[in-house]
């Protein structure tokens, strides 16, 4: 009887403690995922900034003129297409 009561008490205690332990573990997991998320956002932001810097208009103009040999159109060479 005493052993049974003891087991019952232990079971109740585990039922009470287990969700708390689980919650703490999930919080750690969440924290880790959050850190990973922040790191990925940071990497994404840096890539966006790199893209913005590479797309800076003075660089594009320089590359277009010096490497591809593009030049600005003369008046009369432009065709404007308007959509209804």
């Amino acid at each position: 009887m005493v052993v049974l009561t003891g087991f019952l008490f232990l079971a109740c205690a585990l039922v009470y403690v287990w969700p708390n332990v689980k919650m703490v573990n999930l919080a750690y997991e969440f924290q880790e995922q959050k850190r990973l998320h922040q790191d990925l956002i940071q990497k994404n932001n840096l890539l966006k900034l790199e893209r913005d810097s590479l797309m800076s208009l003075d660089r594009i103009q320089y590359l277009a003129e010096s490497q591809i040999g593009m030049k600005e159109p003369e008046p009369g060479q432009v065709v404007t297409i308007l959509l209804k």
Binding site: V24, A27, L49, S53, S56, L57, D58, V79, T80, K84
Partner: protein, 561 residues
Amino acid sequence: MVSLVLAAFGLILVGRLVHLQVIQHDRLAAQSDKQYLRTVEIASGRGNIYDRNRNQLATNIRVESIYADPKSVIDKDKTAYILAKALEMKPGTLLKKLKSDRHFVWIKRKCELNAVEKLKQLDLPGIGFVAETKRYYPKRKLAASTLGFVGLDNQGLAGVEHFHHAVLKGNPQRSVLEKDARGRFLWTTAYAQEINQGKRDVVLTLDEVIQFIAERELKKQVEDYQAKSGLAIVMDPFTGAIYALASAPEFNPNNYSSYPRNTWRNDAVASAYEPGSIFKPIVAAAVLEEGLAGPDDIFFCENGSFQLGRSRIGEAANHQFGWLTLRNIIAKSSNIGAIKIAQKLGEKRFFAYMQKFGFGDKMGVDLPGEASGSLRDLSQWSGLSLASMSFGHELSVTPIQMVSAISAIANGGTLIRPRMTEAILKNGTLEKSFEPEYIHKVLSEETSRQMINILKSVVKPGGTGVNAAIPGFEVAGKTGTAQKIDPETQSYSKTQFLASFIGFVPADAPRLVILVMIDEPQKSYWGGEVAAPVFQKIARKTLQYLHIPSSLDRVFVLDRV
């Protein structure tokens, strides 16, 4: 006996429990909270700045700052040497910091992340790291004098950064978090939701492409003419939206301290100049509005020499004009003709019109440090003031005032407030948008139409502004060549000039008002030669960018599929 002992023990236990759980409950609960709860400040980061097409002009990057607790540093000499090598600093300076009596000293703020990573791996005793954000301008020099810059603690120091600091700085929020025995935070959903809830971004009316065009063409001309400086403004005359505000020489706001202070200044709003002949349309518009003369009324221009009291006034380039129509006075930029028009108007009416056009007062543009220019009160005018002011001397105006006044002529007669801010975003969604602000009516539609026709003649053959003409478009504008005051002699210099051109295009349905000012050009100083070609290039390329076809372009109108 045993029962009594057990009962007594039980009572003591119950008493202790009551003492701990009831009597000391509040104190102990507070102590426990203190051990596992911690208040942290959640900074949302400074808001971004975008152009009107949501291109990023200013943002933040994550950096780390390095600090030391000198009391915990074991080998100060070795630590100073290692830090100096990694951070490219002087070991002596660092050693001085490490020998400080304080518990906290900054070693270096906002360092490169790779240098920080190396130091973190070394795990030096007494050296710590703090995550911070650093302002970053991805387009580097583009619109630098408009955007401004921030200080080490991200406080806006100039430009939009300063003007909108209260909006951009964000509101750091405090949150209570749980931590474990090792001090690690237990993140909760509630905390995650709070992050980035206070961030506000500013959207400008500026257009990255138009700004680039204006800066590029202006810089080229300033360099070609070895000028001291230059500025260009591109504005929508109907909404007051500023599309570009270019200055030369420029600076990089990512590294502003290594550029001379005078390059930080936004001369378009913070400086006032004697406008010279670009002011003549104001007197002409006033006389037309009052019905005192018509565009084809003639005035005698004294064959190039006009005696006013003890002063003799001549024409630019020693021109000797006889009779000229009002239209030709503007087209050929006759000083004496402008005086004759102003005399017809009279001092009181001229002064009233200058005020109506917004001169002598701030325009209220949303940029810091706006100057009001100088327009002396009528009671302080000398016998020569009316004459001098008619061709833009004896008063000073800011470039933004000049653009607003010409916009009023271009848009049918309404003075409109120039503006740089399009909207404020909160967490990426629109919180507030800024609408065009009409100040008051200055001219009638009829006078505006007459003035547009007069200003078109400036750009036609025989006018002073032929270099501003754009094939396939009607252009209206006015040249200006203002002598500067020589600070040594306190009289008008014969070698220092301000060359300018102000105009709008397409003349009959204006989309852009553009002002170009080039300060102290060397090879030539005429506004029509130095500033008008810059206007022409900026206008032509901007019209092309805005898909406004010229009469020479082939236009196809297609049905949407």
